[in-house]
Amino acid sequence: MTVDVDELLTDDGAPRPAATALWELLDELGPEEILARQQATELDILTMGITFTVYSDGENIDRAWPFDVVPRIIPGDEWNQVQLGLHQRLRAVNMFIDDLYNDQRIIAEGVFPADLLEESVNFRPECVGFHPKFGVWAHISGSDLVKDDDGTFYVLEDNLRVPSGVSYVLENRAVTKRAFPELFGKNQIRPVDSYTDELNKVLSSLAPDGVIEPTIAVLTPGIFNSAYFEHSFLAQRMGAELVEGGDLVVGDDDCVYMHTVEGRERVHVIYRRIDDLFLDPEVFRSDSLLGVSGLMRAWKAGNVGIANAPGAGVADDKCVYAWMPDIIRFYLGEEPKIANVPTYRCMYDDEREYVLEHLDELVMKPANESGGYGITIGSRATEEELTACAQAILDDPRNWVAQPIINLSTVPTLIDGEMQSRHVDLRPFILTGEHSYVTAGGLTRVALKEGSLIVNSSQGGGSKDTWIVDDNGGWNGPPPQTQSQAQGSLDVGPEGIG
């Protein structure tokens, strides 16, 4: 039985240094006031219309975004290391994708197995030979991180296709500022608001050469998509157009246009929030109603920038994950600065031997299954199950990987008016273009059921604001400027504010 490690509190219940100010305030407020503030944020979320859509009983239901008022706090110096690791990881990931669609150096040099690529469902042969601007394919990515008992952040998976959640990072901050105005301004909590501006810059940089003020469109599958709120939010924050496939058309000149009240207008960059396979019925699924015929033609002709580039998903295949440390070493000649969960690949003799000797400590996963099918958790399996699993590995070693069990850290969470510890994960967002950017923190998801590790909002998970707090003794800037005496004394009268 492992002991949960809490990120805000030490084992004896005292606040950790970065959480001291928060904990003192919560103490001072008392349970009733904390609950009142939680309820006030819930009301804010309702009136601001912050929602997500779930599909249930044959219907799409727009639900209020689940939010817990107690923030998660990560010390700034710890976060700086994570950021460095994510910059590095995404740099390598993009070099990897560009290599796969071009020279395939990493395969030629025997670092990445050729047959893994052949079996990949996310490799798009249509993209072979293409070099997007800056050699970048995954412009917007969200990596899921977990913190283990040992206090280390591990990358659990990389989401390189259409990762969602960033709008909630910004909205969670907005409602938390209202809930704890006492703490902002006194503490060095890194702002998160600049994300949309950074996104705008990255997208603008993808415009065809010579376009100074590009028209950017966010391509959404529409109102019934679970992340529609976010699509709308991002378009709104960037001053971009939110478009559906039917709003766009590719002309005879291989340029993309949108239907407007003034006729057709050129679109230079598309931030697509629909999957590759639905992008262009001419090239991919011909039954797609969400995409735009000819979009791939326009992209390859350099007439429109698309983020993320079609085909970027090849690098978030589950089997690629196991090679990530090798990929970083291969392209950058550096050791990974943020850890992968150690993943043993049974196709390699030494790794397989280790797995077979440590079955009861590991989780064995078939590489080609998703959604948790075929997984054996060593510590919970019977002797017979372990034997069967060992046999399966020996029969088809290429299909098996194994990982140690990671125990998610916890953060105090308001449950029925009381503080209880609940497991969390973290999804930071990384932007990559000519330069790269990592959000200050990211989306913290929390499993609201006691002991549960399932943080998905569609399955009863909640969310928290994530604070990256710098410890430099609070605000030390110059005093605020005030009106000079001479002006201030002018005819203000008894009710004046001077």
């Binding site: 309702l46 009136t47 601001m48 219309g49 028209t215 109102i223 709308s232 939010f233 378009a235 709104q236 001053g239 971009a240 157009e241 939110l242 478009v243 559906e244 039917g246 709003d247 058309v249 949108m258 239907h259 407007t260 009240v261 003034e262 006729g263 207008e265």
Partner: protein, 319 residues
């Protein structure tokens, strides 16, 4: 930045639905208050007295129908399933604005979302007379609040013109309906002096009601400085150049919006046609004869304006 045709469609219809919700709210509120001034023990009369409301919002055939207060308020206000009810209009306005959040100032979405949550939770309480004013007043106020937010914080771009045109078109339509049904009925009654009622007392109260239902009473009085008199009221509601709910004013405002848009020819022609038709109905307003048919005609031409706007600006791939 150019406006997507699909967004133009949603903004235009959000404006129409919200205006309809506001106008219907005012109408229902005023109707209830009117009966408070005109108590009646005659069950026969009571059975029919709510029917004109259905006629204004639907078709004139409803005039001949028995309708209880509860039934009418349900149909016009509370029932989200009934086409054109306040509850349905507010929900439709919300869902249109929900898909155009990036085009409008953020507060606009908050306002309509807030109103929508209120109507969902409290709308049914409009059945209760004591609470009705609260519900209907909130709808009318929030609709105007939204207008205020847009007026004070929205770029004067194509999206703004779509909003304006939606509001004014719906408003023009509603004024013609009120005049075509209620004013026409009142004038027809006045033309039959053998009816056993005190025409002066009731008429004045009724005409005040008509004016109030269009938020026009005070402005009418300021503008005419005279007594409340049938043909003056009708002319004020149809032709006044300065009253923002008169049909003429609404059509002129649509015309002004067109000044700010491109490719306006077909829409402009439809607006001119409707306006010319409106002005030609002047003769019917002195005695009320054929007023109902005249208003039907104007309404159908307002429908044509809607069609022209749809073809030119709201359909994807419009040319």
């Amino acid at each position: 930045m150019a406006l997507l045709s699909r967004n133009a469609d949603r903004i235009f219809w959000a404006a129409r639905y919200l205006e309809r919700a506001e106008d219907t709210s005012r109408l229902v509120q005023e109707f209830g208050e009117l009966f408070d001034d005109m108590p009646s023990d005659d069950p026969n009369e009571n059975a029919f007295r709510w029917a004109p409301l259905l006629a204004v919002c639907g078709s004139r055939e409803f005039l001949a129908r028995e309708a209880s207060e509860r039934e009418v308020v349900d149909a016009l206000v509370c029932d989200p399933e009934t086409e054109g009810s306040v509850a349905q209009c507010v929900a439709a306005a919300r869902s249109n604005l929900r898909t155009t959040r990036e085009v409008l100032p953020r507060e606009a979405w908050h306002a309509v979302n807030d109103l929508s949550m209120f109507v969902e939770a409290e709308g049914a309480r409009a059945r209760d007379r004591r609470f009705r004013g609260h519900v209907l007043g909130r709808v009318a106020n929030d609709s105007r609040r939204l207008d205020g937010i847009l007026t004070s914080s929205m770029n004067r771009d194509a999206a703004w013109q779509m909003w304006r045109m939606g509001r004014y078109l719906e408003r023009a339509d509603m004024t013609t309906r009120v005049v075509g049904v209620r004013a026409a009925v009142l004038m027809a009654q006045a033309a039959k002096p053998d009816e056993p009622r005190d025409p002066l007392r009731y008429d004045e109260v009724q005409w005040m009601g008509v004016l109030r239902s269009l938020s026009a009473l005070q402005m009418y009085q300021r503008s005419t400085r005279g007594p409340i008199e049938a043909s003056t009221v009708v002319q004020f509601l149809l032709f006044d150049a300065g009253f923002p709910r008169s049909v003429r004013f609404c059509l002129d405002e649509i015309d002004r919006s067109l000044d700010q848009l491109t490719r306006t020819d077909s829409v402009r022609a439809a607006v001119r046609e409707a306006r010319d038709a409106l002005m030609s109905t002047m003769a019917t307003t002195t005695d009320g004869s054929d007023l109902d048919q005249a208003m039907d005609w104007v309404q159908s031409l307002i429908g044509k304006v809607n069609g022209a706007i749809t073809d030119r600006y709201l359909s994807v791939g419009a040319h």
